[in-house]
Amino acid sequence: MAAESTIDPMHQFQIDSLAGDLAGNPFAFTNSALWMLIVLGAIFVFMLGGMKRELVPGRWQVMVEGITSFVASMIDTSIGPEGRKYLPWVFTIFMFILFANLMGLMPFGVVPGVHPFTVTSQFTITGVMAIISFSIVLIVGFWKHGFHFFSLFIPHGTPKPLLPLIFLIELLSFLVRPFSLALRLFVAMIAGHILIKVFASFIVSGLNAEGAMGPAIALLSFLFIAGVSALELLVAAIQAYVFALLTSLYINDAENLH
């Protein structure tokens, strides 16, 4: 039972300072910042492979162009031809979330002293990204349509008596958007990682336990972790896609109203 108490499934979300005083210092270099830079470097290296700009692309260039055209076509279908100016931002959040999610799942922990950190499991991170996306929606909406932007909250064909109620409901659902955007990603990431850590602790305590049941539980947990890890890889991609898709849909509301 001693081994179990040392495994804290929440410890992986702990932010530690690597350089500088942590408390309230904006320039403190933390493990979170380190992994953000690692994600940045990975994205940069990945994108560099797509900059050969050959007429007949190699494998790497095909990957980069595939992701690029995936995001571009997502914007084209959800916003339309005017959506191309939002491509850099949607691409930025898509790539950052995708690479951060995947980086957090990579088994870097097998190297002693290395602790992988999932940047997107921090609601400070997902929240800021959601707020930026929501701000773009607000700025574009009021810039393009002025106060007419409020007509977004009145669906077509609403009966007159229901108008205030519908307006209130639509406004509320609109204001909830940044929270749902941020929490969806944060919760998906934290849940999967906690699940994996909890079952990993089952393996350790199962192997330490006496009797025949312990190893059996450990094996079962191991198989479960393998399955959950595969699922988490899927979730990592899906959450990046959902965040980018919802952002482009919200921008579509601001760009085209209805």
């Binding site: 929440m10 932010i15 408390a23 910042a33 940045l40 700009r53 692309p57 931002w89 950052f96 800021v128």
Partner: protein, 164 residues
């Protein structure tokens, strides 16, 4: 939950590094690299469209060439048919005229021969009349002792011959 426990401690650090990272991705990749990648893809797709259009044009040109070739072939064939027909007609006409000429020549010869034959027959007939008249004169002189004039004898012979 460390995310909540540490919130006040790490908020500014998280904000700073996140904004830094996102800004680098946005400006360094989203604004700088992305347009180049997009333009590469656009150039490729337009190149493919152009090549397809060129191939289509080449195919159409080949079709047109084949059509022209077919037309030329048909034209030459009819031309050849016309020429051979004309030659055939020509040679037939030539043969006809040659045959006609040969025909005329042989007819002339036949006519001449016939004329000669008739003349000979007439001459022979005249000789016979003369001989018969003389014979009749002689016979009359010997049998009846009457001298018959030559013209009279000739007339009698002619009458007798006409009765035959």
């Amino acid at each position: 939950m460390p995310q909540i426990n540490q919130l006040s401690d790490v908020l500014y650090s998280q904000l700073f590094w996140l904004l830094l990272t996102l800004a680098v991705i946005y400006f360094g990749i989203g604004q700088a690299m992305l347009p180049k990648i997009m333009s590469t893809m656009d150039a490729r797709s337009s190149r493919i469209t152009d090549d397809l259009a060129a191939a289509e044009a080449a195919r159409r040109a080949a079709d047109a060439t084949e059509e022209a070739y077919r037309a030329r072939m048909a034209e030459s064939r009819t031309e050849a048919m016309k020429v051979t027909g004309a030659a055939k007609q020509e040679s037939a006409r030539a043969t006809e005229t040659r045959v006609a000429a040969a025909d005329a020549a042989s007819r002339e010869k036949i006519e001449a021969a016939e004329a000669r034959l008739r003349a000979a027959a007439e001459a022979a007939m005249a000789d016979i009349e003369n001989v018969a008249a003389e014979a009749a004169q002689d016979m009359v002189a010997r049998l009846a002792g009457v001298k018959v004039g030559k013209s009279e004898a000739a007339r009698a012979v002619k009458a007798a011959m006409a009765d035959v």
